[in-house]
Symmetry: C2
Subunit: 506 residues, 2 copies
């Protein structure tokens, strides 16, 4: 071990004193921890280019003051019991020179932001957390095979900087996948590989936002988007959603730089933006000069009808930026998503991405490219789509069994659905709390990875259920417990509201 | 394949007409490329929930107009020769509705930035590009073994969101490495894993910069840092460097949010910041409230003397943010670097990192953690340090052989050195151009991944040589060619400067 010590032969202190001070500084600063052996004096002397005697004398003084100890079997090491005097240091010692400034004025941070919730807040046994994957469905054996195959021909994969927009093979595979699947005319050079959808949003924010820029989001919206725009000090304008998706009539007539929306499966309500609104939204974008950020986070899972043509497929005015992710379809541990950009944004986005992080890690990109191009991705999608469909059906079935003709939205696709609570039920937040007492995680709009801006029609009456990570037995057991919680709530409420009368429910 | 088509039974157009228009839109928009087979009518009818006849009639019209073709062996597919009329579409067709807006007003981008150069601009046979790794030195077999070991116990590694600040095991391994190696008192919770040094800088910029914030950089400086700060519309204040590193006396007396510097091996000049200046810099930071960003990009390679104690190890006023990277010591294809933060910045940085990208990919982190913790990292460092030392010696030797007593800086550590050209030599840019004609890449301050702010004392007289990626034979051959180029230049200059006289050189 080489110690980070540097002596200055022309300094006003002796070499021995300098060495003593610096070693003491290391020990006090915990760079050298108690019990750590120090190098033999001969080695340290050689490293520093000083006489061995200088080191021996410095060690002796450190030992005399209690910083070092020597045992014949162990050699010399840092004392476990540092001397009291270690807290007092010489007037011209390093530690003292610095410690005077421990509390000092510091200019305030420029950054202002809230942390979004992407992991479930609790450790609940039956957790219907949103957008969560089932680890047992990850295609591990295929992945391992591809990893080894890619490592066989690693060449300079680990050692060279590459195109900051992503590995060519991956961008080509994504473009090939998107054309038929989403009806988009897209070439590989329009694609920028990003570290998940959140980084895609961040890159868009870097391109389009300054302080005070007006940004439209859905209300309720994806929390990670709303908090991000807020952190750029943009003026966020929430626009309501209804069962046909974003209320296009409520868009501001001018002045917005972009609108962020989730047209395939509105997050969190699950609505699909109607074709008629798609066309009007694109008209609005063309007229106002705003960009449309099409966040297509879970469109790989569609259970009924056809996939809708992406906004980007309909658009011919270069207004749409498409955002996709592999966090839901393969695994969030890959941290791979992508942007599809109109041509005029490619160059600025490439520059912004390079300044952001010089591009994505090589191995995961190379494996994912092979995974898609080999057809394994399609096979995997079919398999998990079938499983998620069964889980969705099981969830709907369980809810109907316990609560009758429940009103649900978002069931046609995705990994979660929304239950619109009927009259006479507790609020969504109350029901969430009651369920949590029984180790069941269900989520109101404010507690999921969603954000509502305060005057959202659905907030108190909607409960969100992610079903992708739970097997059917757990789904049934979880909903059973929610039903128990509700029965208990009705009984208590009945008792406490009319304590003196006989309760009709009994 | 499911086509992204969606029919509206309550629309004013017939289902057949809707289907025709949407399929034509797909073909024109290249969502369906020439030669692509369309689904059998029965399948598409089932997908759309319409009668088979509707699909047959739509296909017939598309065939009649030349969009589809049928061959008995191939089925029905998109025509290779689309009809001329495909460019004209009905007044109420989708394509036409949109195409009117192809050129339209678009608000200007918020982003303004220049792309930094991280890869060598040319493909030269003898390329002394800076900070470049030798692919043959990557520890591939160890890495493959660790990858497979980590995949054995992947569990939810690929499928769960994790701490946005990085995998605990990796942060702990980094902290354990830094304490003795750099004399820093650091705990794992102070570490944020980032996607390379550039992302670390970006995270710092997000935390500390707004438009107009004053930022100090070295002059000359690392290009990626200068361009990044510029892209945040900060006011960048260049401060000169000399052979003792950053000229601390030239720091602005107040008002800077941060100073970015490379104290171990100044980028690009190779100077080391003296201990005396380190102390004065920290005093300045404490007094002005500025942060010191210690960019320690290549300190793993030290060939002479001791590693200097990191600024963060000397600081006791929580002024220093330390930036490290594995891009030089393991491989840039990993895209892993890290920040070490003063405690009061941990929470805001965690939030900013989560809004930036929810954290780094799992597999590379898990493997790297194992690589460090197992001791393989230390072994690897020793091995490449020895190789780089041999290459450095070979480069110095070659330069001396050809050019005599050359003046070099930055030789004590790192992966590159700077040659201060003597009087009577061409400018650095000229020599670079002459060498490039002979397939040799050597770099002036303006062409390397460096940036000078226009009044830098070294710009025209300094040539940079990265030696880490070239073996000794190439180093010798490359320098030989530089010498040839210079001889040729002297001859030509002599001839053209005094054409009528006898040249003394002859």
């Amino acid at each position: 071990m080489e110690l980070p010590v540097s002596l200055d032969p022309s300094g006003r202190q002796s070499l021995q004193r300098q060495l003593f001070e610096q070693l003491r500084g290391l020990i006090l600063g915990a760079g050298l921890r108690p019990g750590t052996p120090v190098p033999p004096s001969r080695l340290l002397a050689r490293q520093l280019g000083v006489s061995r005697n200088t080191v021996v004398l410095a060690y002796e003084r450190l030992s005399a003051e209690g910083y070092l100890q020597t045992r014949s079997a162990l050699g010399t090491y840092v004392s476990h019991d540092l001397p009291d005097s270690s807290l007092r240091v010489d007037a011209d010692g390093i530690a003292d020179r610095m410690s005077a400034g421990r509390r000092f004025p510091r200019s305030s941070l420029a950054f202002r932001g809230r942390a979004q919730a992407v992991v479930s807040p609790g450790k609940l046994e039956f957790d219907f957390w949103l957008g969560r994957l089932d680890p047992t469905l990850f295609p591990l054996s295929t992945w391992r095979r591809l990893v080894n195959q890619v490592l066989e021909r690693a060449d300079s994969g680990f050692t060279e900087y590459r195109d900051p927009t992503g590995l060519f093979e991956l961008r080509a595979a994504i473009a090939d996948h998107l054309r038929p699947a989403r009806g988009m005319k897209v070439e590989s050079d329009q694609i920028i590989v990003v570290a998940g959808a959140q980084q895609g949003l961040n890159l868009i924010a870097r391109l389009l936002l300054r302080e005070g820029t007006r940004v439209v989001t859905e209300n309720p919206s994806y929390q990670g988007a709303a908090y991000l725009f807020e952190s750029y000090r943009a003026e966020v304008i929430p626009v309501p959603v209804d069962e046909n998706g974003l209320c296009v009539d409520a868009l501001p007539p001018a002045g917005a730089a972009l609108v962020h929306l989730t047209p395939s499966h509105q997050y969190p309500m699950g609505f699909t933006l109607s074709l008629e609104r798609r066309m009007r939204l694109l008209d609005w974008a063309r007229q106002t000069g705003a960009y449309v950020v099409e966040d297509d986070y879970d469109s790989d899972f569609r259970y009924r009808g056809s996939p809708l043509m992406a906004l980007m497929g309909l658009d011919q005015a270069e207004s749409v930026i498409y955002l996709g992710t592999f966090s839901k379809s393969v695994g969030t541990g890959l941290r791979v998503g992508y942007l599809v950009l109109p041509r005029h944004l490619i160059e600025p986005a490439r520059t912004a991405k390079a300044l952001l992080d010089n591009g994505h890690a090589w191995l995961d990109q190379a494996v994912l490219a092979e995974f898609i191009a080999s057809g394994a991705y399609d096979t995997h999608l079919r398999r998990i789509r079938r499983t998620y469909l069964e889980r969705r059906d099981c969830l709907i079935d369980s809810l109907r069994n316990h609560f009758g003709n429940v009103m649900l939205t978002g069931t046609d696709s995705g990994m979660h659905l929304a239950w619109h609570l009927p009259a006479g039920f507790p609020s969504a937040a109350e029901l969430q709390a009651l369920a949590a007492e029984r180790a069941v995680g269900v989520y109101s709009l404010r507690s999921g990875a969603a954000h509502d801006f305060g005057d959202c029609a659905y907030s108190d009456k909607t409960l969100l259920f992610g079903y992708s990570s739970l097997d059917e037995a757990r789904i049934r057991a979880g909903i059973e417990r929610v039903a128990d919680a509700l029965r208990e709530w009705k009984r208590t409420r009945c008792t406490s509201a009319r304590p003196a009368r006989t309760c009709a429910d009994r």
